[in-house]
Subunit: 197 residues, 2 copies
């Protein structure tokens, strides 16, 4: 059983978060999910609907997997040192650190991606790359795995990445089963990125 | 501008709701999103994470689009006459009524799908069909359009349906643009259902 801590902030992208959470959530024996934010309670997404955080940043980050979504809110959060400090501590003690879309801008700013390969979404690629000049940014990839870091392209690529992470931890067959339960057509080749063209 | 009312309940399926909400939410000039539940505040999904409802069933249902996700919670809600009454009223005055996965069980039970074609997910197909003996259930379809009713197959099919609904309301080009922004590989042929085999 792995505990996933998903960090949210005002202006997070709905599907960045809930696409992967659905995939992990379909394996309740394997993954426990928690939402963390600077303050607990309703956190409003970039699409106006709100998720409900049950943990704040004062809780000791004891997650096996740190998960960071993107969204327009990252534009402000790259300057939030309290959040970046928490990301660094949570990532340091986690087995895996995952991000979707511009979530990798927050990982990059916290320094944990230095010397690592990572990706992000296409529409904000240059801005994200500027947040981590020491990161080896990969432009064409549905998602990128480098040691404990798994980063995905924009929004929907997070679901493909989540299934990739499940495959890494529990085997391909389990990931295929989860995709089937969710009637999800898994784009399982992480090097095949139709949006890079 | 169309107002979408998404009805949630304990045990709703995360991606049933937030996949489509992402797609509609990427067009904030065209769609306004609201979450409704029996009581406002945190509503816990089948995957344990909670969404935050801002309206309860006492509010007059004045939505242009009624949206109903599925999830294991539907097993209890098919017996919730207060909820079913609200669905009937909201659907009667809406321009479109959409459901994902077992959300169509709630629509069927409320009676609004009688005489209509509709679909649902594969794993609960027989149970859902029993909730609406007068509904013309379609087994193989990514989603089904019948007049104001647009119903989708399991979980992830909701995203394809949402893009289909956007295409219906704003044209194919707009739907393709939204898919591109979300780096989503749209399965746009609603008759091509790989999970029906």
């Amino acid at each position: 059983m792995r505990k996933i801590g998903a960090l949210i902030f005002p202006g997070f992208e709905l599907l960045d978060l809930f696409g992967p959470m659905e995939m992990f959530g379909l394996l309740p024996e394997q993954f426990e999910l928690e939402l963390i934010a600077e303050t607990t309670g309703a956190v409003v997404s970039g699409q106006t609907l709100a998720a409900h955080a049950t943990h704040d940043l004062n809780a000791t980050p004891d997650f096996d997997i740190l998960f960071v979504p993107g969204g327009r809110g990252t534009r402000a959060e790259v300057h939030n040192t309290k959040l970046l400090d928490w990301i660094r501590r949570a990532s340091d003690q986690a087995e895996f650190t995952l991000s979707v879309c511009t979530g990798s801008a927050l990982l990059a700013r916290s320094g944990v991606l230095n010397g690592r390969q990572a990706t992000t979404n296409k529409l904000a690629f240059d801005w994200v790359a500027q947040q981590g000049p020491k990161v080896d940014w990969v432009h064409s990839a549905r998602w990128v795995e480098d040691g404990p870091f798994i980063t995905s392209s924009g929004v929907s690529a997070g679901m493909d990445m989540a299934l990739g992470a499940i495959a890494l931890m529990h085997g391909d067959e389990t990931a295929e089963k989860v995709a089937g339960w969710g009637e999800y057509i898994w784009n399982k080749d992480r090097h095949d990125d139709p949006f890079a063209k």
